[in-house]
Symmetry: C2
Subunit: 204 residues, 2 copies
Amino acid sequence: MGIERMKRLEEQIRRCGEVRDGQVLKVDCFLNHQIDVLFMEEMAKEFHRLFEETHPTKVLTIEASGIPIAVLTAQTFGIPLVFAKKTESLNLDQETYVAEVYSYTRQKPYHIKVSKKYLNPQDRVLIIDDFLARGSASSGLMNLVSQSGATLSGVGVVIEKSFQSGGAELRQAGVNLHSLAMVASMSPETGVVFAPNPDDESKN
Amino acid sequence: MGIERMKRLEEQIRRCGEVRDGQVLKVDCFLNHQIDVLFMEEMAKEFHRLFEETHPTKVLTIEASGIPIAVLTAQTFGIPLVFAKKTESLNLDQETYVAEVYSYTRQKPYHIKVSKKYLNPQDRVLIIDDFLARGSASSGLMNLVSQSGATLSGVGVVIEKSFQSGGAELRQAGVNLHSLAMVASMSPETGVVFAPNPDDESKN
């Protein structure tokens, strides 16, 4: 079941992913602009299967393109979603947790914030995002979870660029990370090449 | 059924909506920051009931806070969601439809864009958003639909500020508009006062 879903995801990425210069992968046809909601539901069920045993109480993501898969994942667990907001200004008030994220696309840092009301020490937080590359966004979200005193239940991403360092670093740090597709390499000429997924073994 | 859902929505808005200066209503506890996914599902079912007869083929919204309710509404219909992206730069290329939206909060215009791939003349487009006030965002989205040659199936918003002009203008223009809650007035002192919903009659 797990493997079948992953294979369909890889097919979809091959079919309509566009590799741009600067190691940018655009998957606008079902993930980042148009959302194939029924297909995303299948991905959300896969996250449910992978993280069920961690009993998350909240899903956390960043606006905007992480929101669809995060909503559908929260739905499978019947728990709320919190999305961190991007903010240019570093307005350190008493009401929000703030972390810095570096945007490699824009080559500058930005801040993300979550109201203190919506993350608390009793929470077990499942971070869900569309992409994992160098891991700056995931680290920022984990920083927010840490500030709140909540427990990190895990990190789930739809597409990991495993030729970049983010995933390896998180696994090394002991984070419960699952990626639904692992891109080993990509270029405008050769397209996308997938790596074997470390989750595959447990699915036979 | 419809009325019951609306009443629960009004209660939720009263319970945790925060009225800020400048006619800003923050509903962070279930709509704009933390998403009560199970409650939003109920709202999505209500949109399904209200727009079922228009047979939409796509849901359209704007990033970011319109996305959760739009995803769940698209799910009830089993159709894709497209979210328009906000952009500072007016990069008029051949591949996107672009429209201008005025932000009253920031007191400046911005642009929204949708790839031409994801809206086409065969589509019947249901616009879903979290708020309707002066109607600038809805008009921008309707403009994108119009450029694409698609048919507008309707506009559904969770909260309409009926003391502002957007809703009245859309109805006058013959748009098939449904709002799940109608705010007649609000202030930091008195809180939120609701208007009778024009949809209520059909629900008795």
